[in-house]
Amino acid sequence: MSKYIEQPRYSCALGAQQSVVAIKRAVPILHAGPGCSGKISSLIGQGEGYAGGNTIPCTNASEADIVYGGEGKLRTVIDGAFQVIDADLYVVLTGCTSDIVGDDVGSVTGEYQEQGKPIVYAETGGFKSNNYVSHEVVIKAIIDQYVDCYKQAGKKTKGLVNVFSTIPYQDPYWNGNLEELKRILSGIGLTVNILFGADSGGVEEWKTIPEAEFNLVVSAWAGLGIAKHLEEKYGTPYFHFPYLPVGGLETSKFLRQVAEFTGADKEKTEAFIRSEEEKFYMHIERTADFMLEFRYGIPRRFYSLLDASYAIGFAKYLLNELGIIPARQYIIDDTPEAFQEAIREQFHRISDQRSAEVRFIVDAGAIQQEIRQDAHKHRSLILGSGWERDLAKEIGADLLILSVPVSYRLVLNCGYTGYRGGLRVIEDIYDRVLDTYR
């Protein structure tokens, strides 16, 4: 079956350059064609960050590099990057050109590693996978080739956890989401390596990955491979929570399960949950009359065109805490076959009384055609991307843009995970609903 895509919502393997950009003071070095980096930033990079965007060093593969190989050029660009770019970690990533031609990037990078330079490499030729998959590849490469050099044999730090969750920049709200995850996990007494973004500690934090007592994977499937790898490598047990916890119910459930698994202080955990829930539900209760009574119409059902972690998390929250019913749910992240059943199961028992239909389709042009054909008797909500603007208008739906391309929103630290994220969801949905009235 062909897998053509109208309206792409993720990038190729090289898209993991954005995972590197999300690490404080880390810089990708691309051994790739001249346009690759810009195209990736265009879809999944609102803003350059520290040394992303146009700052990213690149060999800009030319015809000569294809014919004669590009290893020499890679060497000079790496040399230059060390001189010109002030970074703590340099990550060489290959593109289609290098991977098809077969440059030995490992041995070129190895020369610098032998000199003790903070540099790693990963093969991320665009055709090899997408950025959900290659995010794992790049993280593993950093751990194996860099972090591992600093491990202190047998050292474990009590209560330290590594968090592997939403993928930086592929999730436009990654920074806010990771901040909230760190905040709530710290709230139950854990010490958190969040690894990416404003609340992380840069490469020094990465160096403590082997010391962690546990790994937490908060994602449907992407990132699970990292935890498995760390289990084999450092014997670190991992806990898998297969979606983003959004709102009071799911966040409390998440924290209790994590506490159970990690042996975090039960009383402290319950006290934290109590105080967070009190605040969370105070806001809900305070405005429940408005939500119940607003007479001009609020969405009654929602479509999702999201990655699996977002889709499950939002569906649970919208249904169980806001009473908006799931219409068809589309998973657009090219979920590998092996993980699809578990995701179906999540939707099958989305609440005690209800199951939701889920489909795995990467070609969102086809999804939009399907949605158009439904009868649209009631106002609905679309959780999707910038591609859904016209569709939403046509079927009389409100659109909350959660997936790339986000283009119609500028995202700083907005996040939708956790207690705070749950409240933000309500604000943003109603913001869009209320904004439709003249």
């Binding site: 062909s2 897998k3 053509y4 895509i5 109208e6 309206q7 792409p8 990038s11 190729c12 393997a13 898209g15 691309l30 064609g33 001249p34 346009g35 690759c36 980096s37 810009g38 195209k39 930033s41 265009s42 879809l43 999944i44 965007g53 146009n54 700052t55 060093p57 690149c58 800009n60 593969a61 030319s62 015809e63 000569a64 590099d65 004669y68 000079t76 660009v77 040399d79 230059g80 990057a81 001189q83 010109v84 770019i85 002030d86 970074a87 289609c96 050109t97 098809i100 031609v101 665009g126 055709f127 997408n130 990467v362 042009g365 910038g386 591609w387 603007r389 016209d390 391309p405 283009s407």
Partner: protein, 493 residues
């Protein structure tokens, strides 16, 4: 002059066709001199940052033809830029009072096994599906590094599907690795259009082709009183409209870097004369350009009247602006041709241009006519420009230079560069609409915006105070051209 051959599926890259370069340091006069005497040599860089590629620029021109579809034959990452163009397309629809539609773009999603077995079947399936979904009047295929290296017969698929579907299915070859000059992608798109869409003229029309991006419709007021109708191409045109651009009386380019190939092809193949004077930027530039337009359109008297009228209107206002801008310093970064125009324009306003980083240099355009040399025009009219750097979006060179030069204002024409002015506390101006500064009124528009920008220092001053700098102290102390011209690797030219 490059000879246009519509028999070849691919157009030769600019490096080969025009002898274009991407690395140079010196004065603008020296560059013009070198180019004229055939002594122009490219300087490669030993260290480089990511650039753009042809496929993006080809897509830029093909993606907004209202009834066409683009199939990008590539891994999914290559389609990362399509939403950006869709956004531009939709903004343009608002400006033109067109109904909202999304661009219909498909990616063939080349994967690992395809690099071994080939992906032509995928390409065929995608084209058929695109046709079924959209029923377009034409389908363009843009290629990629991957499709090029694995050797897919894209031209063969295009021809077979043209037969099968009964609409033009046109291959546009724009593999990123082929050229360091991403504007080569414009040439690829235009080659595809002239080769497979444009039909031989049946009659002469009263239309004037305007090769532009998606600028405002400023040519209406100029051409309609002269009895001509502007035909803005290629974005926002239709396939039917493009079929007939061979019937126009003339072709205008807002930027010869953009339209070089299309203008020359229409003249060489179909005898549509191209206005060869550099585009109308600055007072004298506009005078020249208008007179050339009057000559080609046979409206010389009316043009002289217009020039006199506009001078009377604009000169007093210009005098005021000049007084305010006298002695202010500027640094420019932009693509070629438009960058040259900006240099002329700033000097017309009495400003001192301290230098420029221009993305590439074409010694001559496809028409082979020295009259079109915008940089020579700027040098001859306003004098030489020191610190003229040909630099394909290498931010590290720009930061180094800005840090030394510290102009009163930095003027950028493309995204990705403004940050570096602002981080150093230098007011920075980016103007997207290339028509904004066109002609006499454009000069006034620009002056106004420069004054506004110079006046608004609060944001950049505060940003500079709180910014980090990813460039090393060592680098900022080096000669900005430290890495230029030291490349020891084999080049194609």
């Amino acid at each position: 002059m490059s000879v246009i051959s519509l028999k070849e599926p691919e157009v030769a890259i600019r490096e080969v066709r025009l002898g274009s370069i991407t690395g140079f340091e010196g004065t603008a006069g020296e560059l013009v001199q070198c180019a004229r005497t055939g002594k122009l040599q490219d300087n490669a860089r030993q260290f480089s940052q990511c650039m753009g590629c042809s496929s993006g620029n080809a897509f830029c021109q093909l993606s907004m033809i209202q009834d066409a579809v683009v199939v990008n034959h590539a891994p999914v990452g290559c389609a990362g830029d399509v939403f950006g163009f869709n956004f531009v397309y939709r903004v343009g629809q608002m400006e033109r009072n067109l109904p909202p539609v999304i661009g219909r773009y498909f990616n063939t999603n080349i994967e690992e096994q395809d690099t071994i077995f080939g992906a032509t079947q995928k390409l065929e399936d995608t084209i058929r599906e695109a046709y079924t979904r959209v029923k377009p009047k034409a389908i363009f295929i843009t290629t990629s590094c991957a499709s090029g290296i694995i050797g897919d017969d894209v031209e063969g698929v295009a021809n077979a599907l043209t037969e099968e579907l009964g609409i033009p299915v046109v291959a546009c070859f724009c593999e990123g690795f082929k050229s360091k000059i991403w504007t080569t992608g414009f040439d690829s798109a235009y080659h595809a259009i002239v080769r497979k869409i444009v039909k031989p003229p049946l009659k002469k029309s009263n239309k004037v082709n305007i090769i532009n991006f998606w600028g405002s419709h400023i040519f209406d007021d100029l051409l309609k009183p002269l009895g001509y109708e502007p035909d803005y191409i290629v974005p926002f045109s239709t396939v039917g409209q493009l079929e007939r651009i061979s019937e126009a009386v003339a072709t205008i380019q807002v930027c010869p870097t953009l339209g070089s190939y299309l203008g020359a092809a229409l003249e060489q193949v179909y005898g549509v004369p191209e206005i060869k004077a550099p585009p109308a930027y600055g007072l004298r530039g506009t005078d020249n350009w208008l007179r050339e337009l009057g000559r080609v359109l046979d409206r010389e008297d009316q043009i002289e009247t217009l020039i006199n009228k506009e001078h009377a209107r604009v000169l007093p206002l210009l005098g005021d602006y000049r007084k305010q801008l006298e002695g202010k310093t500027a640094y420019i970064t932009a693509g070629a041709a438009h960058g040259h125009a900006l240099i002329a324009l700033l000097r017309e306003l009495g400003m001192t241009v301290q230098g420029a980083a221009i993305f590439h240099h074409d010694p001559l355009y496809d028409n082979g006519d020295t009259a079109s040399d915008a940089l020579a025009h700027a040098v001859n009219t306003y004098g030489d420009i020191a610190n003229y750097n040909v630099c394909n979006k290498q931010a590290y060179e720009l930061v180094n230079i800005l840090n030394r030069v510290r102009p009163d204002i930095m003027i950028a024409r493309h995204g990705g560069m403004t940050l570096w002015g602002a981080k150093l506390g230098i007011p920075t101006l980016l103007i997207g609409d290339e028509h904004f500064s066109f002609g006499y009124q454009g000069l006034l528009n620009y002056a106004e915006r420069i004054l506004e920008t110079l006046d608004n220092k609060e944001f950049v001053t505060n940003l500079a105070k709180h910014s980090t700098m990813p460039y090393t102290k060592w680098w900022l102390e080096q000669n900005p051209f430290h890495f230029l011209g030291r490349n020891v690797h084999v080049e194609v030219y």
